[in-house]
């Protein structure tokens, strides 16, 4: 046992695992940032008005529904094989980034939409009647209020998403889970390795989850204070 421990906890191995942690964090961060932007664009497209923009609305809706409903692993392999068809030596990191961007945009679209819909409609209708263009209404009235609803949900999603990034190892992308598997392949004790991997995931998720809870109570509090009394 002590020998196993000593074999695992070498400086090189820890460095290797830390690189996995960094990569998991990076993928999560990329997912959430691109997801917020992509999700916003999708939500904005979905809330467009007029017959002319109907195809845009439908496109956005189909995108969201499809990528929310298929397992992430399917998206990942879809992207992997499409990429390899176009570019035989497509870098795996970018395959993972694109898949994550697709998945997170679809999920964040619903989070952003719920946030935008939380802004009371009279404000928006008033601005509309004042001839304010829709992009400006969104930018200076809706988003400055909606972020308080969006942020806690986005962080909660991020916590969930940390776990999903482990699937990227299935496509051969190096991240925490992949690092764990690689160490096992080198003959280290699997139980010890994955216990360490578990702790690392926990160390990433837990502070994020707490941050989400903190944001939720803090922002929700201000939210209930307003309105007509």
């Amino acid at each position: 046992m002590t020998e196993n421990l000593a074999n695992l906890f070498t400086f090189g191995n820890m460095q290797f695992l830390m690189r996995g942690v960094a990569m998991t964090l990076l993928l999560t961060l990329i997912g959430c940032l691109t997801g917020l932007i992509g999700g916003f664009l999708l939500a904005y497209a979905r809330s467009s008005k007029g017959n002319l923009l109907a195809p845009v609305r439908w496109g956005a809706m189909i995108f969201v529904e499809v990528f929310r409903r298929i397992p992430f692993l399917v998206t990942l392999f879809l992207v992997l094989y499409t990429a390899q068809m176009i570019l035989p030596r497509a870098p795996l990191f970018w395959v993972a980034v694109i898949s994550i961007c697709l998945l997170c945009s679809a999920y964040m679209a619903e989070i952003v939409r719920a946030g935008m819909e939380s802004v009371p409609t009279p404000q928006i209708e008033t601005a509309e009647v004042m001839n304010m263009p829709r992009w400006r209404i969104t930018w200076i009235i809706v988003l400055p209020q909606a972020w308080k609803v969006i942020l806690p949900s986005a962080v909660s999603y991020m916590v969930m998403f940390v776990k999903d990034t482990a699937l990227a190892s299935q496509a051969g992308v190096f991240e925490l889970m992949f690092a764990g598997k690689a160490l096992v392949n080198r003959g280290l004790d699997p139980l010890l390795v994955f216990a360490t991997v578990l702790l690392a995931y926990f160390a990433i998720s837990w502070p994020l989850a707490r941050l989400g809870q903190w944001l939720e109570t803090r922002l929700a509090h201000r939210h209930t204070e307003r309105g007509i009394r």
Partner: protein, 245 residues
């Protein structure tokens, strides 16, 4: 010539006809009270007038211009002259009182900020809210919020103001201040349509009253006709119900 002329206005939600051939002429500067049971289409009429719900038939003429609600330019021109205030949540919650009033004059109409702010301060004084410039809406009472909303509408110098139950969500002691502001506006050449359950106020301040029921105009007349000697049976029934409460 009528300032606002509505003829044969129809509004449908899906297959249900919510407004059925509304005809109404309003003179410039007139204050018209809209009364009628809940669900009779009062809000829908106001919303249709500013193009928030597309009419399915009929014609609206404002300031001699026929409004084509399907055309952006026509709708924009109409909205340059019209304002609407709702029951609640009118103010942009993320902006101060001053910004609420100046944002559209500055960002949409391109007026100089200093001028817009000076005007906003004057309007705030007028609605009795001097000193609240940098307050946020959630720091104001409901009545104060509604007065800011009216000041904000006035900043755009509308020819037509639509008020949809602007006091209905307020505590009784706050209603008076808002009604005082509205009374103050009457006789200034701004045409006003006022939906309200404040029958006392309508009787005293309105030039004419429109009684609506089931998406139709039932009766139009001066306040004492509608309240005291209604011609239509439905108006009579509605009034007796209200007075009994």
């Amino acid at each position: 010539m009528a300032h606002l002329k509505i003829s044969g206005l129809d509004v449908r939600y899906g297959t249900t006809r919510v407004l059925c051939g509304i005809d109404l002429e309003v003179a410039r500067g007139e204050l018209v009270g809209l009364v009628g049971p809940s669900g009779s289409g009062k809000s829908t009429l106001l919303r249709a007038l500013v193009g928030l719900v597309p009419p399915s038939a009929g014609q609206v003429v404002l300031e001699g211009e026929i409004v084509d609600y399907a055309k952006k330019d026509s709708l924009r021109a109409l909205r340059d002259h019209a304002a609407i205030v709702f029951q609640q949540y009118n103010l942009f919650q993320n902006m101060t009182v001053l910004d609420n009033i100046t944002v559209t004059p500055v960002k949409v109409r391109g007026r100089p900020r200093a001028e817009a702010e000076a005007q906003a301060r004057a309007l705030l004084a007028r609605v009795g809210l001097s000193g609240k410039e940098s307050a946020y809406p959630d720091q104001l009472s409901g009545g104060q919020q509604q007065r800011v909303a009216i000041a904000r509408a006035l900043a755009l110098k509308p020819a037509l103001i639509l008020l949809d139950e602007v006091t209905a969500a307020l505590d009784p002691e706050l209603v008076r201040d808002v009604l005082d502001v509205i009374r103050d506006l009457a006789g200034e050449g701004i045409t006003m349509l006022l939906v309200s359950h404040e029958m006392g106020f309508i009787r005293e301040a309105a030039d004419r009253v429109v009684m609506m029921d089931a998406g139709r105009v039932v009766e139009v007349g001066p306040p004492q006709q509608i309240f005291d000697t209604p011609i239509e049976e439905r108006t009579r029934a509605f009034m007796s119900k209200i007075i009994r409460h």
